[in-house]
């Protein structure tokens, strides 16, 4: 009987987990866990995340296991007698020191990763990202290209209250922009984030970090995108009513393609190589067949 109850209890707590894992099979995008991403340290961050997660799970199993054991073994209804002790310095020392050691074990790799992430030196190109209410501006500092990027019109129409458009019918609902940020793969890019009005945060999960865009200050971060593809993200700092509606789309193409893209852009040629135009017309879904999905777990 008591084991049955253990099962029921445990099941209740982990039921949601199981249900979610199941439900996720159908969703073909980011899914249930952190993305591994496509930059060198996005993978390190992912590994760190998994390590800490598993440490927590193990500690959880031990601690909750002991609790549940106690709850079933020492019940008054089963005739358990309470003992009188209430102190033991040895065990108290042990369970102070062991967590401390575990934490040191976590802190060491975390420190390594962090130091790497903060090292923006030797970048091969620089992009300045400026947040506005509610769009992004991208300045290619080296080549002088500059443009704005805001929520794509189809999403924008659909998201109006009472639009009557089913979000499911809009591809990449709320995660699509009119003009993408085009970058070369395998290049160390320095990102300078700032903002023009309020604080925003520039976040593309596949790159492995987010950075606040603070008016009047510039934050530096970097990325080397190792796989070509289209990577989507969102503004991640509350910035007013349309905070939910300023997505980010990064398109990584090979350095050669990138060169020709730059050349075209500089000639003022607005016909995009791979990016969509910023026109207002709705049905351009066909032009997005070039999309690359994120690598799946």
């Amino acid at each position: 009987m008591s084991y049955l109850r253990i099962l029921v209890l445990g099941g209740l707590i982990f039921l949601p987990v199981a249900a979610m894992a199941e439900g996720n099979v159908n969703s073909n995008t980011w899914g249930l866990n952190l993305t591994r991403g496509v930059t060198p340290f996005s993978k390190e961050v992912y590994d760190l995340h998994m390590i800490v997660l598993w440490i927590c799970v193990v500690i959880g199993v031990v601690v909750f296991g002991a609790m549940f054991y106690a709850m079933f073994a020492y019940r008054k209804s089963k005739g358990a007698q309470a003992e009188g002790w209430h102190e033991n310095h040895t065990v108290e020392a042990v369970w102070t020191i062991i967590p401390l050691l575990i934490l040191i074990g976590i802190a060491i790799p975390a420190t390594h990763t962090l130091i790497k992430m903060e090292d923006v030196s030797n970048a091969e190109m620089t992009i300045k990202v400026t947040g506005y209410q509610w769009m992004w501006q991208y300045d290619y500092v080296d080549s002088g290209i500059s443009f704005y990027s805001k929520l794509a019109d189809d999403s924008n129409f659909a998201r109006q209250r009472g639009s009557g458009i089913d979000p499911n019918s809009v591809e990449n609902y709320l995660l699509d922009v009119d003009t993408r940020l085009v970058v070369p793969t395998n290049t160390k890019i320095r990102f300078l984030t700032t903002a023009a009005d309020v604080i925003h945060a520039w976040w593309v999960p596949a790159l492995g970090w987010k950075r606040d865009a603070i008016p009047g200050f510039i934050n530096e971060s970097w990325a080397i995108i190792e796989e070509p593809g289209v990577y989507r993200g969102q503004c991640a700092e509350l910035c007013g009513k349309d905070h939910g509606f300023m997505p980010i789309v990064v398109e990584a193409i090979s350095p050669d393609d990138y060169k020709s893209w730059v050349a075209q852009k500089k000639q003022g040629d607005e016909t995009p190589v791979v990016s969509k135009g910023s026109s207002g017309e709705l049905p351009y879904i066909a032009s997005r067949s070039d999309q690359v999905e994120l690598p799946k777990e």
Partner: protein, 290 residues
Amino acid sequence: MSESTDYYVPEPSYWPIIATIALFIIFLGAALTFNVGSGGAPILVLGFVMLGVVFFGWFGEVIRESENGVYSDQVDVSFRMGMSWFIFSEVMFFAAFFGALYYARMYSVPWLGGEGSGAATNEFLWPEFTTAWPLFEPPSTYAFDSFKETIGAWGIPFWNTAILLTSGGTVTWAHWGLIKGNRLQLISGLALTVALGVIFVGLQADEYAHAYNDLGLTLNSGIYGATFFLLTGFHGFHVTMGTIMLAVILARSIKGHFTPKNHFAFEAVAWYWHFVDVVWIGLFIFVYWL
């Protein structure tokens, strides 16, 4: 009547709720004033009048109870603890502004000037700006005003330091008088302290006028002006409150309140005064001098 074997619990009182309503009206009036510019003013006045009434009423009641010997020694200790913790909370209030000053000087202004991790900030956003303290030229002289000169430490502020330190001495001297039962010493010590407080506030007001009229140093003068006026302003406000409290204590002393053993109100105000004193030392060192 003050039996210390039995605990003392005060009578129910209307004053707390009236005080709350007064504050509520003040906040409402102030909020309206900020929003529409006027309109709120009569409400504000009403609130302050009410608050004044509360001060007289509530403290008056406490004074009456105290003079009638209702309070036991234990109550006295409770009052002392309450006052100490209150002063501690005031210290933390000032800590927020000192923290702002520290942050501005150690981090934000240097970063804007390109030091430390601020290289890109300076290069791309504020190429004209160089770090300095006092910050005569804020990064944007369009949004905020530049100014010509600060108030030097060794002029009036130095004398104000001397005044406040002296007043700390005179209030202690008055306290000794109270303990010894020397009424003349008590009253003259207090009167001197009040006078010094008034002089301090007067000089401070004069300095403000000087800053605004001659130096162009205003609340709008970038982070220097902001920290300068808020720190010294809140301090000046506290000195004013302290002076009023001292004046009340002086009046009560003249009326013959307080005994050598029983004078919590006196001590509370003296502590408060010393606290104001210590804050000033901090201001003198970090705002005016360094």
